[in-house]
Symmetry: C3
């Protein structure tokens, strides 16, 4: 079906191909490569970058996008096979095939419902879209992953550091007032592993990433010639790293969440002292200033966050192109 809902749909070779093509197209614009194509963007959750960068990718490529907001302009959608006597008006089993009759591809955003790692791993909504769709489906973030973000992050590193194989990177947990989903850390981990980086994951006790995701990352790393290591010490991880990817996520036990805890994990300029001289701060955005990341870092030359955001556009137009050409 040429869908991309998880990094495993691309694999090591596919991840490399997307990033290299994005790099090429950033230098040499592909022109009207999406002419006549119509993308449906289905949002179960809000968006700023994703919405704008996907719509811009379609339009600048000569195509168009239709935006559908579930629970807003569109009624609520059911994905479980139940007698539908509650508040959800339509099932994905009808909605998705119908959209496929009007549109050339679908993009879907459906965040984690906060039910825990196993529920996120099942990723029922985005998998339902992929299952019922007759046209390619691209994830705009689901419970388990945000593959476009991971690809944009690695394109940013590819531009700054050239060859990514063996590059030491730290994915560091950060404080927050809410237990955020793990889709972004999962995707950075999986994509960096697929690019053969030396990935160091640092988080306080109780904030483990989910086992099957870590296992998948390690397999990708092995295939790509990189590594994945986990530590409870942010300091150990940062030493010599070229990137500090800061990201808040919730604890393995949702009920164990403590708001605004572990404040010393928030990156400040001081955190860069032991890192590589050219080290950068990465974040998927939106970022809460002086809560997740110190404003002094975001406002410094260390910050790569605006470039990461721009690269969403570049990787997504490659994904859209390949999906619509049947080349995933």
């Amino acid at each position: 079906m040429n869908s991309v809902t998880h990094i495993r749909d691309l694999g090591v070779e596919g991840v490399h191909r997307v990033i290299e093509q994005a790099l090429t197209w950033k230098r040499t614009d592909p022109g009207q490569h999406l002419a006549g194509k119509l993308l449906g963007m289905v949002f179960f959750n809000p968006s700023l970058r994703t919405r704008t960068s996907f719509e811009a990718a379609m339009i600048r490529g000569g195509g168009h996008a239709v935006v559908l907001e579930v629970g807003g302009g569109v009624w609520k959608l059911e994905h479980n096979d139940v007698r539908m006597d509650q508040d959800k008006t339509e099932h994905l089993r009808e909605a998705v095939p119908v959209l496929g009759r009007y549109l050339d591809a679908l993009a879907v955003r459906s965040f984690s419902q906060g039910g825990g790692d196993a529920e996120d791993e099942a990723d029922a909504v985005v998998n339902g879209f992929a299952q019922y769709s007759s046209v390619p489906v691209i994830s705009m973030e689901s419970a388990r992953e945000h593959p476009c973000q991971g690809l944009a992050d690695l394109l940013t590193l590819r531009e700054r550091f050239g060859n990514l194989k063996g590059l030491p990177l730290t994915l560091s947990w950060a404080p927050h007032i809410k237990p955020l989903p793990k889709a972004v850390p999962n995707s950075f981990l999986l994509t960096a592993a697929a690019m053969g980086c030396e990935v160091r994951v640092a988080h306080p006790q109780g904030y483990d990433l989910y086992g099957p995701v870590l296992a998948e990352a390690k397999e990708l790393a092995q295939e790509a010639g990189g590594s994945v290591d986990v530590t409870g010490s942010q300091k150990v991880a940062l030493a010599g790293s070229v990137a500090l990817y800061a990201k808040a996520w919730g604890p393995s036990d949702p009920s164990a969440f403590v708001s605004d805890s572990n404040r010393d994990w928030m990156p400040t300029l001081e955190h860069f002292d032991s890192m590589s001289p050219e080290a950068v701060l990465m974040h998927c955005l939106p970022v809460r200033r002086d809560l997740e990341v110190a404003a002094e870092v975001l406002d410094s030359a260390r910050s790569a966050v605006i470039d990461e955001a721009e690269n969403r556009f570049h990787v997504q137009r490659v994904l859209l192109h390949r999906a619509l050409q049947g080349e995933i």
Copy 2:
């Protein structure tokens, strides 16, 4: 004004013309027939199919659509001539002429407010749009009718069964947890009558369609060489029918509604035993599985619901084209 807000705006000849042209354009794409045209889509209520199929029709024809959500991105609109000291910020008497200065046509969705048959018959909002507009207005469902749905339904039957004259069809009431509007059953009835079908309406006691709608359907049937009959027995209606159009609607007396009543009216595969061997299940969607229609029917080859939805696109681009060409 070349507006289409009710089936009577087309009449028997117009309904035939739209369906035949849609059939032709489904085989031979009309290309950029809407180039340079701009449609305003005004939603007082949510939408999935209607929103997407209208927007797709405009874009695939070379035009564009602007989507306005009343009570969301757009403030509430008044249609009664009152001193405006309540929560509605702008009157249709200003809003509609203003939109006509920017746009080439308007499409409007404004559901029944549940005030009963006489209020639905008056259809104040969509009629206000048609009255105040300097550009064509097309209904995307109003209190009384959903003409695009009726046209799409009959195109679906036209494709499956060829000549529609005298074709036995059943429009059957279905259970629901809410007293739904009658716009869809009204439109199927009127459009099928205009195509000369033998329409059998079946519903439990207390769920009569409104007299003036039935009378109009009978007039259309007479002109087109068909018939309209009403029965309290679903079984009698289904015998020999080629289509079971299942649709929930509320009782004539809104206060008499009983949630989830008459469960045996929900179509199951067994309901097809007495029907024509090639009989199909029809529904406008969204459909609540195992409440309005059994999942076993929706998941079977009996179901024509996805085709009906696709045909929304095909009839709407004909309506948009004719309205913008001044040929309604």
Copy 3:
């Protein structure tokens, strides 16, 4: 940066230039003058005319628009430099530069928060956009001003009365059930002053426009050869005026608001008796009938309100063109 967030960004010469070019383009369509251009429209508040006229301007010029609704499809945005531990998810310092990577220009609507004249004068949100943006920013109404409305209003007068220098106009306060912002009266005042009109401002006691705005208007009037006078008597102001611009706004002391007070300030046909024979009723819309303006005036030939609304399109496509060409 070629942004237009306030009338002072244009000045007397710029205001004249925009209005004359809009007049020319109303006669001779500029064609695909925005081809390949992509505008991001960021709404903190609802819109009907602004949304539709900006989107129409982009599309008819060959470009496209992406619509973002803050607090709806987009999360809430912070503009103050604070530790972000409340309900706002992203700071303008990130959001605006990111949008500039995808889009060629931004349009922003952010109404007054009702915190009083000094807060409106600071105009923090629209000024934040202009400050952080790498692409031109155009105001779609902020706390202090609604420059596109002022320009459309004066284009309407230019069309009706030719030379505007010395033309006597009345900006009259009108009753309402809410203390509305002053952006529209401010903009009409500033733009009319910049066109050299004889502007008479009439309002009940306690409803003064803010001092710095009045002072700026008087400076513009002096440069342009016009005048600005304020009176507490609507009758005195109207005598001989060619336009009655009716607009509700709140009192200088927000706590002093009395709903629906000063009812005799609502324009009726009788109010036109002492005015010029060709005098017109102006209003930015939305207007509440029989509360702010009598329906009998809105439904008469006196009303210029639909023309004013149409002219939003005409001045905006000039602003968009000039901003994107770097010619503001």
